[in-house]
Amino acid sequence: MDLTFSGALEIAGLIKNKEITSVEAVEAFLARIDAVEPDVHSYINVSADIARERAAAIDSRLSAGDDAGAFAGVPLAIKDVLSTRGFPTTCGSRMLEGFVPAYDATVVERVNDAGTVMLGKANMDEFAMGSSTENSYFGPTRNPWDLERVPGGSSGGSAAAVAAGEAPWALGSDTGGSIRQPAALCGIVGLKPTYGLVSRYGLVAFASSLDQVGPMTRSVGDCAALLGLIAGHDPCDSTSIDEPAPDYLTGLDGEVKGMKAGIVKELSSDGIEPGVLERFNATVKALEGLGVSCEEVSLPSFEYGLSAYYLIAPAEASSNLARFDGVRYGYRTDLESDDIWEMYDETRAAGFGGEVKRRIMLGTYALSAGYYDAYYAQAQKIRTLIVRDYGRAWDSFDVLVSPTSPSTAFKLGEKMDDPLTMYLSDICTIPVNLAGIPALSLPCGLAEGLPVGFQVMGPPLSEAKIMNVAYALEGVLGFEPRPPLD
């Protein structure tokens, strides 16, 4: 059996039944990391020693008969945007190179409490801004399915690690598609939860009103399990929903017969690659085969989703990233200066990469006196319209579906000089964040050897339902997330 291509639930079972130890599991993944990391570069920092120590400690607790958590000893990758106490958290930025947080993010606390063992911090576009992981200060991640291609982004490191067998599962974050698009491009499952379902405390903010942490896994079952670990109210996050999260795992029964799915016209026709469209249509057929009635639906406001997103997200980012100024922590310019404003300028000019600076400037402009109403306020109105369009759709449909990404993985460098084309990579995923609803990307086969993602969207807090649809599809599609890497 190849442990590194086993799911997390499977590994948890093996450890529980004493067929393997946590140390063995961790060593298997560390060996795999050693083998493929030079090619793939999924991690910014691998926490090998800490992982070995923790695994050994968990093993001794387990052999003493202690309860070490539901996923005791199961390895995990964590996107480097989540604060980990005592271990570097860089957000893929020079600004935070070597920065060691003083506290754990709530989700990190929760996966630790469940007994998981962190293997390392996964690579990402700087401050989660990008769709290819090429914007990382620490170098790009490559797609395990084709090393000439990008893994998507911004959670490209998390997606590639899971796809390449460098971690059984991973935590990512999604602001405009940053979990789902890389999941699609790497052939794994990725879920963006309802806004407020998962705590953002300790998630380094990109766009506060859009960000969510979510699972990136090899199967829908693992996705339900990891969501179960991280979901639920957190008093440290005022926007966290004050309701207990259900047991997602037991809800997965594949019973979808009689459900209604809407095919979003605006997200599944123009600008979608033929190969992607072909896989998408085949998956819709499979869904109908499961007894789900599928019908096209038009959500006209989606046309403006991308524009609204690229005003709201940069506006919030321009404020969120103001704290990186060289005064209290992180990078500070070496340039001697007796003027604080010069110090700020030099620090931020050298500490941030090009895409981050572009978005800070866009956002600053959108919030400026005289432009606020024309840009930021207008974008918020579009947001309201998108929420309304979705709301109307839920009157007629249980779920909505579309391709996750308009294309399969593209070549490294292909879109780096053309930000607008790059931004279009998120055209199918962005409306979901604007509306705060949950959506999942399920691998639905290959197009010319590259994975294609199928997006399932649902009303607020319908995670159980959309995962069940994906679970049913997973059973009939039979996709095996194993790239020809070796």
């Binding site: 935070l96 506290y103 998630l203 903010a205 404020s319 103001a322 704290r323 005064v327 007796d338 003027d339």
Partner: protein
């Protein structure tokens, strides 16, 4: 040309909540630098704010005391600007939908009432404190700057008035009343010198009813400097207008030592704050039942108490204002009144000697060594003519210094006045016999002679003779 001074104030009061506005750090004043801090108030990556319910309650309470409407759904905004004492480089504040708005506070000025409109009372977080090392003393040209974030994140209530004040006197009186109001509500320490109460002002001169150019004054750190700065600026502007000069809309800094205002460099002021709704916080929607519960907690406010003191106890304006300016002082007075002594006498003793003693010893009235009961005892001793007013001053001082009761002091020192007519009668006879010349002058109607003889009586009794009785006796015997 008819001139009218137009003043509006913007006041910041640090709320004395147990913890900071958006984190759990304590708010205690004066700790070692950066000891009351955590990742949240230091603006570390990934942290989130959670609003302090106690601070919201305090602000609502203040809004109610200032006759404001409580906003059913108010929101926080981010005010964006870079400064090293701002951990996040934005301040969480409120913008177009404050917690409370549209109220008033009535100030009495020499019998005239001035109702000052309160535009808004909102809630925000304080910044840290910078110390700039170097010749300039300012951030420009400093060798380096030190930052203390203990204050960063302490809740601040911002109170903005309408431009309803018409003189520096009125502005000062308003500030004093507002300070007293905050103090009565027990929501702020109200120390202008320590910065827990801060005030900026807008001042302009209307000429023949036409609005003038508004100038903002900053850095007024006491009631005195508020009054001096506004008086200076009032005169500067009137003079400029008379000279035909054009005033500039600007922010000016009050230099207390030099007694002048001067313009701030525009670079420090030219901010576009790019306000936008704080996405990390949810709107505040105070439950109406909670607001009513808070309303029920409102104490008798300074102006109500002042009016009651005048009517119920017959106190003068000046003394009533003084006693009610501090809740604990007014409480002390009312507890002293419970001893049954004359309120006017009690009030005089408190407003005069006692307050002076407290001030010298830098002791708050709450820890006054002389209990209100003791003050009643002192006033009773004077009323019963056991001791003179002059002796009472000394007894008060000793009671204050030692914590002993006035009665105890009088007895221990044998200080009681000789009010026994027989005993005093003998002394007066002795004095007359020993000073025949003065006695003759007295018979001849010389005022000087009475004073001389009184002096001799006092000398003989070591000051313990009841002066009234002694003087009556001399007069009776020598006229």
């Amino acid at each position: 040309m008819e001139f009218e001074t137009i003043i509006g104030l913007e006041i910041h009061a640090e709320l004395n909540t147990a913890s900071k506005m958006f984190c759990g750090c304590p708010t205690a004043f004066g700790g070692a630098p950066n000891t009351s801090t955590c990742p949240i108030c230091l603006g570390h990556p990934g942290v989130l704010p959670v609003a302090n319910r106690e601070a919201v309650a305090d602000t609502i309470l203040l809004g109610l005391a200032l006759n404001c409407k409580i906003t059913p759904r108010s929101i926080f905004h981010r005010k964006n600007y870079f400064y090293p004492d701002m951990p996040k480089n934005f301040q969480i504040s409120q913008y177009d939908i404050p917690l409370t708005a549209d109220g008033w506070l009535e100030v009495e000025m020499e019998g005239n009432n001035r109702r000052v409109g309160i535009t808004r009372v909102h809630l925000e977080e304080d910044t840290g404190k910078s110390v700039h090392i170097g010749e300039s003393g300012r951030i420009h040209g400093a060798d380096f700057s030190l930052e203390d974030f203990n204050r960063a994140g302490i809740p601040l209530a911002e109170i903005v008035t309408e431009p309803d004040l018409r003189s520096p006197e009125e502005a000062r009186a308003f500030m004093q009343l507002l300070r007293a109001t905050l103090e009565y509500l027990q929501i702020s320490d109200c120390k202008m010198e320590e910065g827990s109460l801060r005030c900026d002002a807008n001042i302009s001169i209307a000429v023949d009813g036409a609005m003038g150019t508004k100038v903002e004054i900053k850095n007024m750190n006491s009631f005195r400097s508020l009054f001096r700065a506004l008086s200076y600026e009032d005169e500067r502007q009137r003079f400029a207008i008379k000279q035909g000069e054009t005033l500039v809309q600007e922010t000016r800094h009050w230099d207390d030592a030099a007694g002048v205002t001067h313009p701030l460099r525009s670079k420090e002021e030219a901010f576009d704050y790019r306000y936008f709704p704080e996405p990390d916080l949810v709107p505040i929607e105070p439950d109406p039942a909670w607001v009513e519960e808070l309303r029920g907690r409102l104490p008798e406010l300074p102006m109500e108490r002042l009016r009651r003191f005048r009517e119920q106890y017959g106190l003068s304006d000046e003394i009533a204002v003084m006693l009610t300016s501090e809740k604990a002082l007014a409480d002390y007075f009312e507890r002293a009144v419970e001893t049954g002594q004359d309120p006017v006498e009690l009030a005089k003793w408190i407003a005069g000697d006692l307050v002076a003693l407290l001030k010298d010893a830098v002791v708050p009235i709450q820890s006054c060594p002389l209990e209100p009961r003791g003050l009643g005892e002192l006033v009773a001793l004077v009323a019963q003519k056991v001791i003179s007013g002059k002796m009472a001053k000394e007894v008060l001082k000793e009671a204050f210094d030692t914590g002993k009761g006035p009665k105890e002091i009088v007895e221990a020192k044998g200080l009681s006045q000789i009010a026994d007519a027989g005993e005093l009668d003998a002394v007066v006879d002795e004095v007359i016999a020993a000073n025949p010349e003065a006695a003759e002058d007295m018979r001849g109607g010389k005022e000087q002679a009475l004073k001389f003889l009184m002096g001799q009586v006092m000398k003989k009794t070591r000051g313990q003779a009841n002066p009234e009785m002694a003087s009556d006796l001399i007069k009776k015997k020598l006229t």
